[in-house]
Amino acid sequence: MSARLRGYALFAGVAALFLVVAPLALPAFRLDELAKYLCFAIAALGIGLAWGQGGMLTLGQGVFFGLGGYAMGMYLKLHDAGGDLPDFMVWSGVDKLPALWKPFGNPVFALAAVVVVPVVIATLLGVLVFRQRVRGAYFAILTQALAAAFVILLVGQQGLTGGTNGLTNFYDFFGQDPEADSTQRTTYFVTAIVLGVLYLLARQLVKSRFGRLLVAVRDGEDRVRFLGYNPATVKTITFAISAGMAGIAGALFVPVVGIISPSLLDVVPSLELVVAVAIGGRYTLAGAVLGAVAMNYAKTSFSEQWADGWLYLEGALFIGVMTLAPRGAVGVYEQVRDAIARRRKPVPAPPTASEVPA
């Protein structure tokens, strides 16, 4: 079908923009900033899946982002230390490598943990919470409290986690200097490709029967139960997938920015990510990605000019979007597109299923 072809063409175009045009046009440090936005976009993709498709408003994605980031950071720290204690442990008064850290010296283990740990924890939480039909606002508030509690826990265990400082000062990222321009280009490409692949996988999931089921759970969880499915399972799986995506995003964030710290995982950054998804358009995965990139870009460039004003703008943008365009930028685009199509064709066009086109 042509719509399908058009979708692929669009995807190819965007991919070319990110993989060819951007690297040529941008200096390395701007590319590095873009890579940071793409990391957030990966986490946003997970939110788009859990919230946009599954109706689970998760305000604690920072937790999973952090778990992935710390898994990666722990490996890099151990690698840099080369058998000694990581620097922050020395000044935190730890004299022996904690048992929790030991396996992270192995890169394979660490990379696996980036995905596995968030998925396992999300699954556990999901089983506990969804089985008891905690949902909607309750779920949102619980995940928010989870983020708050997680940050406090991380900060409090300074010898284990680096406290508020987090993990930083990495010298060697798989044989490369993380601050070198060439490394920044490489991590950019890796991040962009990972985002692309995860986007395609997520899109496949949305289009699959499971994706339809997920939308059904979002719109009528109780009804789904009477179709013979257990919504708790559907939600737990989705929540776990979105957690895994956040974990991958966090892991990529470490080489891109060179730090992982609790301030990234707290209530506000987690919320900001959800906000970005809402502004981009929560009901489509593309909207989630677009929102994360655009909002973070806007935040950086705005705070370069007008630091205090950013909060007003962010707040106002948000109030405006929620009130006037709850389907976000993508929703606005679709409305405009449909309006134009209707004007071109005097015959009333059939109302298209406006949800989830891509």
Binding site: A137, I141, L153, F318
Partner: protein, 292 residues
């Protein structure tokens, strides 16, 4: 042992603070299903009201501020309800994000109006004493907060159960459509409910000037705790909120006593998740046959 006993009034007073900040939410969240993230900033508005009134009332500003802050914060809430929230009924999660945007704007506005640093609100001199109790001492300021929380609870209970307006409010909460066809002006009830809920936040803000910082970030320190109280207590249940606030207060008090402040917060979270395993809808829940 002595200090163990002394943690009892401490727990009660923490509970009173939690209750005070959460009471408004039993209206806005409980009765109307609006997750008002700007609740914290309404608390802040109350605190700044006390600060502003100092110019005229000096040491007694806190007392004068109680009713004034109720009206100020209530009005802010009323404006919010009229301007935005009324378009959002039935979409509780969207209200969460909307009001978060509002809270950002209010925080920045406070920063621009009053400056980024904290300001000082002087407590009335007659609140500076303390009573000896169970081997420790309980400051009058804490007693005042407990008294205020009790007064608010009694007032709300009387309003909900004894006044015509309160009964209307409950009717709307239990069945909006039915109440509407029975001739209740649900829009008016919503406005009033939101006014009261937000106003209570203002009252809490005034009380908090006695024990905490008064600055643009004030609201952010309390908002998560406030929602946890309502979640644990059960939606819209005054009884639940009271018991949950006191229980969490005790848990905080003894949790911190035996471990430390950081771990106490983590313990509270774990206990709440555990508790929701047993009572997914909180302590008390209204039964409804509606299939959502």
């Amino acid at each position: 042992m002595e200090s163990l006993l002394n943690q009892l009034p401490v727990g009660l007073s923490i509970g009173a603070v939690l209750l005070l900040i959460a009471l408004g939410l039993t209206f806005t969240f409980g009765q109307m299903g609006v997750i008002n993230m700007a609740h914290g900033e309404f608390i802040m508005a109350g605190a700044y009201t006390a600060y502003m009134l100092q110019d005229w009332f000096h040491g007694q500003a806190v007392i004068v501020a109680l009713p004034v802050a109720f009206v100020v914060a209530g009005t802010l809430g009323w404006i919010l309800e009229r301007a935005a929230i009324r378009h959002f009924y039935g979409r509780p999660l969207d209200t969460l994000l909307l009001t978060w945007g509002v809270s950002l704007v209010l925080q920045q506005a406070a920063r621009d109006l009053f400056g980024a640093p904290n300001v000082q609100v002087t407590a009335p001199s007659w609140l500076s004493g303390r009573v000896e109790l169970l081997g420790g001492n309980l400051p009058y300021a804490r007693l005042f907060i407990m008294g205020l929380a009790t007064a608010c609870v009694v007032g709300i209970w009387a309003y909900m159960n004894r006044s015509r307006q309160g009964r209307r409010m409950r009717a709307v909460m239990q069945n909006r459509e039915l109440a509407a066809v029975s001739g209740v002006a649900t829009g008016r009830v919503d406005q009033l409910t939101f006014f009261i809920g937000s106003g209570l936040a203002g009252v809490a803000g005034v009380a908090l000037t006695l024990i905490g910082p008064v600055g643009p970030s004030l609201g952010t320190y309390y908002i998560v705790d406030a929602f946890l109280v309502v979640v644990a207590g059960g939606l819209g249940q005054l009884r639940g909120a009271v018991i949950a606030a006191l229980a969490l207060g005790m848990l905080n008090s003894y949790g911190e006593f035996w471990t430390d402040a950081s771990l106490a917060k983590v313990i509270v979270f774990v206990v709440i998740v555990g508790f929701l395993q047993v009572r997914p809808q909180g302590l008390f829940v209204l039964r409804s046959r509606a299939l959502t």
